[in-house]
Symmetry: C2
Subunit: 274 residues, 2 copies
């Protein structure tokens, strides 16, 4: 089974592939667009994309890609992101002046960098910045990436767990060409637009609330060509096959211009592989 992820080997997304799938071949992609293309074209069997981080928030580009492509969400995974300060072998803490990594990783370690008077420098991804640093051979620079990235490129870890807040998790979604029917505790992701009338959003959300269905996430994105109107992405805490959800979705589809169920999938539970 081939699973598309974004970044170089050693990226956090690759780690999510290993932890979620256990086995399978991770396939490195240059962009999130490429992940969706690889799965759509059958080059890969599945793709894994980060959708939100507990410190940085949602990765909105991937919400847009879910809408633009015709793949289904079949799973979710919560990865604990633990950042390492990575250097060329021999480099010492007091030498480091500049730290190169993905902007989100730099932001998650902002206090640490300020405390150590290290200047952040933005790169395209975490593992890729380790690869670039190795090539450069500089002893006054460091990267921020995973333990595995340091190991793959034969680099040294000066300190582990340098993120400012330990509650640093990234939620990944697994996408495939066909939907799945989850057993046990499930979630459903949907996206819809609204008629431009007062109360439209609350009326839509009430369809679920009145049936005892809880919303675990809501996110809005602009509708292109329709200033100040939005697409709404909502996660429900049950399967779309659930009778209550089925009824609410039928009613919602009658009252909204667009409704798409992006998929129902097993709810993530720590230490239980789905």
């Amino acid at each position: 089974m081939k699973i598309a992820f974004r970044g170089e080997p050693g990226a956090y997304s690759e780690q999510a592939v290993f932890e979620y799938f256990g086995e399978g071949e991770p396939v490195s992609c240059d962009s999130f667009d490429d992940i969706f293309d690889a799965v759509t074209s059958r080059e890969c069997d599945a793709g894994i994309v980060p959708i939100e981080n507990t410190l940085a928030g949602s990765i909105h580009q991937n919400y847009d890609l879910l809408m633009r492509n015709n793949l289904f969400i079949v799973g979710e995974y919560h990865l604990r992101v633990r950042h390492c300060l990575i250097v060329n072998p021999g480099a010492k803490m007091e030498q480091i002046r500049m730290v190169y990594s993905h902007p989100q990783a730099l932001r998650q370690c902002a206090d640490y960098l300020r405390r150590h008077k290290m200047k952040p420098e933005e790169g395209i991804d975490t593992a890729g910045s380790v690869k670039a640093l190795k090539k450069l051979g500089a002893l006054d620079m460091a990267s921020i990436a995973s333990r595995r990235a340091a190991e793959i490129y034969g680099m040294e870890i000066l300190e582990e767990g340098i993120e400012d807040n330990p509650e640093n998790y990234t939620r990944f979604l697994v996408v495939q060409r066909e939907p799945t029917i989850p057993k046990g505790e499930a979630k459903t992701s949907l996206v819809f637009t609204l008629n431009n009338v007062p109360g439209a959003l609350v009326n839509a959300l009430n369809l679920f609330a009145l049936r005892g269905i809880n919303l675990t996430k809501i996110e809005s994105r602009p509708l292109h060509g329709r200033p100040w109107e939005y697409l709404f992405y909502v996660d429900l805490d049950c399967s779309a096959q659930d009778a209550r959800a089925n009824e609410a979705l039928a009613l919602l589809s009658e009252s909204t211009p667009t409704l798409r169920v992006l998929g129902s999938y097993p709810r993530f539970r720590p230490n239980i592989r789905t």
Copy 2:
């Protein structure tokens, strides 16, 4: 009156200052943080920050800054963003291979750049990229920025209105140290957290819906240290002084751990200066 904005002279934010305030002295800042600092420290009388764009979506960093600082929203402005392809005098269309600008401006012109086989190159801001291009003197590069940026730096405009979608507006918020009491049509922005119980979000939103108050925007941001819990930012279509809003806010404050009214302000109306 001194008004803090982010970017170099010629930035779209500076244009918003001119259009919203009519007169007053725009003060250039390096970051959004600096805008909030400049107003808090009384160095400036007001600040203007972009909060959402009709193509790119919300600028989440500024939602975080509204929460972290103790300023009030006193106004909003919708700026039509019209991008120009700007070059050093004498450069011809067919010479341009690379285009340097803010990532959001590049994304808003992505189709145009693809069509003309021009490679996008990310810079820190639009007007700043024009300044940098002038210094460089290159004839095979262009920048994307406002007409005013081209004029300030004595550069040439090869084409105007190159954005892929003409419905390209940025909504700005005006912040000051003291709240205002708007007359006429108003909006109110608030931020709250929720107790972690089913239906909490819908119950909160229903407090407004049941009183005929419409929500014009909803946005969620992660709560640091509390994985998968969120801060909710909501805009209402009336003033907090309105009796219905007053009642709804009183009830909401009883049922939420945190509630802050970020400000009530006159609703933006085209061609009417508030």
